[in-house]
């Protein structure tokens, strides 16, 4: 009958007492949130080219390894202001970042009149490439990006709007889906995820770019769904065990969804880890953000979301109708 040996990756019946750990979890979450806010104000975000504008050039000196010092010296003669030279990927791959330059600087390095702030960025890119062509015997440009002040300004607005609109729609969904005691937990889940992800970027100083916004929204969507699954089960358990005390019912519900929560997080994590390891430097920051997000989303739905209900209090008999609507049958 069984073509496969019955491998039990996870125990069938668990009865962890998550509610008893709630104080620790609340403190941990609070510390992480405060730490994130602190890190954001202390270190700031390492905004990438999409939001800050400027020039990013990825080049390869293959087959020889790149001499970063040589490139730095050559570029520092240009005196362009904020220029970063770093290795990325392999030993012969170099990333050169140039912050936006003003018109006067652009005119100085090119020796030609420059029309406006937008044209200055193009001029800076040309000057940098000219220097690199001269300094390096063998150079292949892997990618060259120049984003002017207008576009970067618009991308900041678009990125912020995207996050706000998405959060608003999620709130609408929560409002439609839950009674208020549950809503508090779900809304806090949103705040928890967004704040901690931003904190993650502040602490690691990974580049914060347009794909990062995509990562944040994906994390929010993912973690919202984790929380919804747990809350759904809680409502169902409240109907089933009418006389049991609330903390006990909450524990039963968390344990009932535990293997699902862990399995889904597990498969999602292994997929993203393969993306982080193999996907190359272009996807690294994106993948790391997702890994972090899935981890904190899972943590929140197990350790914080349900225990929060002991604080907000749940009207157990009124929840019945709502629950019945969702789980007919």
């Amino acid at each position: 009958m069984n073509a496969f040996p019955l491998v039990r990756l996870l125990p069938v019946d668990t009865s962890f007492q998550f509610i008893r750990m709630r104080v620790g979890a609340f403190i941990l979450s609070l510390v992480m949130i405060l730490g994130s806010v602190g890190a954001f104000f202390a270190f700031g975000l390492n905004l990438g080219i999409d939001f800050r504008g400027g020039t990013v050039i990825a080049l390869s000196t293959a087959p020889e390894p790149a001499d970063l010092g040589e490139i730095r010296t050559a570029l520092s003669d240009l005196n362009l202001g904020d220029v970063q030279v770093q290795e990325f990927g392999g030993p012969s791959d170099v990333l050169v970042r140039v912050a936006m330059v003003d018109v006067a600087t652009a005119e100085r390095v090119t020796g030609q009149p420059v029309e406006d702030f937008e044209a200055a960025q193009q001029a800076a890119r040309r000057a940098v490439q000219a220097v690199l062509n001269e300094a390096l015997a063998n150079v292949e440009y892997l990618s060259v990006e120049v984003v002017g002040p207008q576009v970067s300004g618009e991308l900041v607005v678009a990125g912020t709007t995207a996050v706000i609109v998405a959060l608003f729609l999620m709130l609408l969904y929560i409002w439609f889906r839950f009674e208020w005691q549950f809503s508090v937990g779900a809304v806090l889940a949103l705040i928890h995820d967004v704040v901690l992800t931003i904190g993650f970027f502040a602490v690691t100083q990974l580049e914060f770019n347009l794909p990062t916004i995509a990562a944040i929204l994906t994390i929010v969507g993912y973690s919202m769904n984790d929380t919804v699954v747990v809350y759904d089960r809680i409502r169902e358990m409240f109907r089933k065990y009418k006389t049991k005390p609330t903390p006990e019912v909450l524990d039963i519900a968390i344990n009932a969804t535990l293997s699902r929560t862990i399995l889904t997080s597990g498969t999602t994590l292994v997929a993203i880890v393969s993306m982080a390891v193999i996907g190359g430097p272009a996807l690294e920051g994106f993948a790391l953000a997702l890994i972090w997000g899935v981890a904190i989303g899972t943590y929140y739905s197990i350790f914080v979301a349900a225990p929060l209900l002991t604080l907000t209090g749940v009207k157990r008999d009124s929840g019945e109708d709502d629950g019945a609507r969702v789980h007919a049958g």
């Binding site: 990825a58 794909p211 916004i213 969507g221 993912y222 498969t267 393969s274």
Partner: protein
Amino acid sequence: MLYFPPWKTVLILAVILIGFLFTLPNFVPESVRYDESGRAQGAWSVLPNQTVNLGLDLQGGSHLVFQVDLDEVRQDRLSNLQDDVRSLFRRTPPILSAPPAVIEDRVVVRLTDPEDMSRALQRLDEINERVTGTGGQAGTARTLRIQGDPDGRTITIQITDAELDSIRQRTVRQSISVIRRRIDGMGTTEPVIARQGDDRVLVQVPGESDPQRIIELVGTTARMTFHMVESGVDVGSDCRARTPPGIVIYPSDDPNEPCLAVQRRALVTGEQLNTAGQSFDENGQPVVAFTFNQSGARAFGEATSRNVGRRFAVVLDDVIITAPVIRSAILGGSGIIQGNFTVRSATDLATMIGAGALPARLTPIEERTVGASQGQDSIERGQIAILIGFGLVIVFMWLAYGYFGIVSTAALITNVFMLLGALSGLQATLTLPGIAGIVLTIGMAVDANVLIYERIREEWRNGRTLASAIENGYNHALSAILDANITTFVAAAVLYMMGAGPVRGFAVTLGIGIVTSVFTAFVFSRLIIATWLRVMRPKSLPM
């Protein structure tokens, strides 16, 4: 719910088959699908034959966004208006006034005699035309708002919003068609030239790794004119000497002769050109060869026959390219421009003047170029990441659910094929973040299966029969599956609407992936399990 009527089974399998068919072209080399002339051959002329559309970050190429400078166009329109007012007032019987002036966005003219007000307004009405609509037809709105001020002497003329809008539409449309002709002249395959927003033009050229070439080709106005040189006029040591009326000083490309004084009025303009191409002169130097149209040939013939022995200047965007001496009248309507050219710069110049001048200045405001090797590298890494992620998820599911894990593997494979099929069929663009979206979808797609299996296990432990446990498992898991996917779909939809380029590619794969994963997990895997139940008649739950 576990009973599938035959039509339903057929429908489900048909949907999957269609998904596979749309995916198939991605695994068949182009030479098999298309004949030499690029047409689908054999069975491929009936079957779907398009592969996934790779974004520039994957296939390599240049992506540029240009801002169309409309301020300049509006300023031109205002100074023309100023000239119009001046000549209207000069017509007999003349209307006396102070010279009309351009003040910010309006032309202001002050009459000497307030008595002339109504006569002036009447005359000005002649130039107040109807706005041309997008189809070229005359609309109802007027181009100008002409107002006599309450002081009885001042007249203010403004360009109406309708006319400004029409100017903007026209300028951007003309720019796009000029750019298209220029880029086509480069001989690249499948460039994208499209309007973006109100006053921007997006130019994407796959395979071009030198954005500077595109910037020069697109960002050059290429207004070419021919002028007579005034050799008697002193240009001064810094080329800034005061010139008599009708004479201007233009800088020159020639280092021995930094500038020349020429007549302001052009003999012929680039609009009177018929064709232009790159060629070689008798010394083997690259040159631009051109032919005039009839009116250009006549004008140029007359001018050259009257001015033998003098010089004329070929001026491109207010810079003199060359200023040869006229040896004899040029009557054939064709000629060459000699200058300091390489083959490529001569080709590009010929392309630009042949395609016509741009109606406005275009400034690059965003530039992203990816080398072809980098794109290929990303594709390879992406494929490996997808395969490994896929393998790990399958192993994970087998370990957790044994036999049912295989069902979810089948669902997952179908899911990836349908996702690729949808991307190919819809011709959505696959970007690097899009590949990340596929990997993420693979990881999350099993969630629906997990929810169902967990539920089935639970129902089975609660003592239901196998069929009823499975039936209940599916029914109970539905709302959670929908919840899970709605929230992620909301995130994908918002990203699609707000995002640009690569991020949009992520939103597309994530969004399509959600739809295909719900289908495969909830519909397809249920069909498998229902069939398994019917055929094997198992007595216990094999997980």
